[in-house]
Amino acid sequence: MNKTISHSIYMVCACLLFSACIKDTDFDQAEEIALTPIVELDLIYFNLRADQFYDTINSTPVLTVTDTTEIKFLDDSSLQESLKRAEFYFKFTNSIPRTFQVDFQFLSETNDTTYVAGTSVIEGMPAAPVITEFIENVEEDDILRLTQANKVVVSVTIPSSNESLEGTLNLKSKTTYFLEY
């Protein structure tokens, strides 16, 4: 009887050693694994006062003000590969009784323009600010141009200005990055 038991145990062990396997699986599917996070991130913000559009020393209007900031993460090589779509959202709150033209010029490290976007902002009143929203959707070939940039120049142009002009132009902005790794 013992022999029978021992033989069967040997058999079971042998079977286990040779039969252990991985079935009904397809590891080629690893190629299809895609992380597709959608990331919301603040971009730039500013508060431009009406007096910034008038040079009190020389008593002359300043019709265009500009500022520049680097956005170094944009031309990062891993972002270049994984960014599928970017959606910029700009929210202007204008209490200056003037319309504005606001332009965003994206520049590469060598100061070549890679992408431009712009919008006009509706005029408001100091007591009754007016909101203008602007969405810029960037995808496909434009993504390649956008991700060549590592800085953005923001230009704000006012049609006319004087010393007594009041109010502020506020901008809040964010970008939604649709990524795929």
Partner: protein, 471 residues
């Protein structure tokens, strides 16, 4: 990122393991059972493990997901499966991997009836809890999780690669009681841990008074990683140099620690036996080649605030982006420390109660397997308990076993184990003697052997010894 994810997934089920050796525990026919309970009954006079072959142990497990869950052949999309599992799993789920290789193992019974044993083994031990929030953040992003506090404290992982030198004593002190102790000296080749982290990351929609659309806030972050044996590897060139350097530390070249194993075997009466042991009660003192990183603080990111300063021709504006980076580094600094630290070994507790029946005597006159005294039973049934202390608390397992000595050259033990991984873990161990050569093989999760991909844990031990029973 995708490759990292694939790599982590590929670890599932192959290396995810706990350190439970429920089959080997109390399996007195195998000398390596002394490594689990230094106070177990020793039936042989001498044993020599065949160098590098006396114990090969793999154990891998993941408590929340199996390879099959992710990679099964089906019409549905693999990414949908990952998403589903991501939300099903809890932050207390974990991935573990343990591997041990005995370089040397030997033992002999001295004239004073003390059984001395000693040896050297190499061990790799890894555990990572599932950082669910960070996985969701990486997988889905923050858009659909406004106001949700992602918990940075879910990061909890340790890894060790070490050599253990050990020497133990085992003696039957009364008819009923056998006790044993084993002193261990650890030589850590590489170690890291990131535990006791805290903090949250939240994206909130700002209100009218907010600077920008969102407020991205890291709150009360305190995240640290302690490493030893890592800093000096960074400067090395290529895998071969790194391998040589690490192996060079195996012989007391690394950080040293000490620990003990304690155990007993108590025969309550002829039939009932109680056993218990504690392994790796000790610590490693990391003082050489230590480098730790700690990031802590609170910071809210609003984006970049443009000032539009009046500039003359040729003037440049403020370095907004660099200033922002500096501000973040100032508010959440990442300190690099070289302070020594003490790392406690994961203590393992084993306990068992068994009921034996049927006296074992193969040849009638010579009770060859019974040199240690007492009665060897032909069959034993019983219960075992196992616990290992891990960063987030102990992990436990309960085992029901049946042990049978079939002939004087063959015995087997079957187990049914309930643990963090499953309620259906059946294991089998066989010890066979061919002449003086003892071979043993123990594997669990046999029900899953038909398709290992479905197993959440796999454990395997095998080895060869030379056992001498004669005086």
């Amino acid at each position: 990122m995708r490759y990292l994810f694939t790599f982590i997934l590929s670890l599932l089920g192959f290396f995810a393991i706990s350190q439970n050796k429920q089959i080997l525990y109390g399996f007195d026919d195998v000398p390596q059972s002394l490594m689990l309970n230094p106070g177990s009954k020793v039936t042989q006079q001498k044993h020599f493990g065949i160098p590098f072959l006396s114990q090969i142990h793999f154990n891998g497990g993941s408590s929340g997901v199996s390879v099959y869950d992710i990679f099964k052949d089906g019409n549905d999309n693999i990414n949908d499966r990952i998403t589903q599992k991501l939300f099903e799993m809890k932050n207390t789920d974990f991935f573990t991997a343990t591997q041990q290789l005995e370089l040397l193992n030997f033992g002999w019974r001295a004239k004073n009836e003390i059984y001395f044993s000693g040896g050297i083994y190499q061990e790799f031990d890894f555990i990572s809890y599932f950082p669910k929030d960070l996985a969701i953040l990486a997988w889905e992003g923050n858009r659909d999780y406004l106001d949700y506090q992602f918990d940075l404290g879910e990061i909890s992982t340790t890894g060790d690669f070490l050599t253990v030198y050990h020497f133990g004593l085992n003696k039957q002190i009364t008819n009923k009681l056998t006790v044993g102790a084993r002193l261990k000296v650890y030589s850590s080749m590489f170690s890291y841990r990131s535990v006791n982290n805290s903090g949250t990351f939240t994206t909130r929609l700002g209100d009218e008074s907010s600077e920008n659309i969102y407020e991205h806030t890291v709150e009360n972050a305190d995240v640290s990683v302690e490493t030893s044996g890592y800093a000096s590897l960074r400067d090395l060139d290529g895998a071969s140099q790194v391998t040589n350097e690490i192996l060079g530390r195996a012989f007391f070249g690394g950080n040293i620690g000490v620990g003990v194993d304690l155990g007993f075997n108590y025969d309550i009466n002829d039939a009932w036996t109680l056993t218990g042991s504690a392994q790796d009660v000790g610590a490693i003192f990391h003082s050489k080649d230590v480098e730790s990183y700690r990031a802590h603080g609170t910071y809210t990111l609003d984006g970049i605030n443009l000032i539009f300063p009046p500039l003359s021709e040729g003037d440049s504006t403020f370095p907004y982006y660099d200033d922002l980076e500096d501000e973040i580094e100032r508010e959440i600094p990442i300190d690099t420390l070289t302070n020594s630290y003490t790392q406690f070994r994961p203590v393992k507790i084993n306990a068992g109660i068994s009921y034996g029946f049927g006296r074992f005597s193969v040849s009638g006159e010579c009770d060859c397997l019974n040199k240690g005294g007492g009665t060897l039973h032909k069959q034993n049934v019983g219960l075992q308990f196992y616990s290992i202390f891990r960063p987030k608390g102990p992990q436990m397992a309960g085992t029901l076993f049946y042990h049978r000595r079939i002939t004087n050259y063959l015995s087997a033990k079957a187990t049914y184990t309930v643990d963090s991984y499953s309620f259906s873990n059946v294991g089998l161990g066989v010890s066979a003697a061919i002449g003086n050569v003892n071979f043993y093989l123990a594997a669990d999760n046999l029900i899953r052997y038909g398709n290992l991909a479905k197993a959440k844990s796999v454990s395997l031990q095998l080895g060869f010894n030379i056992i001498i029973d004669e005086e």
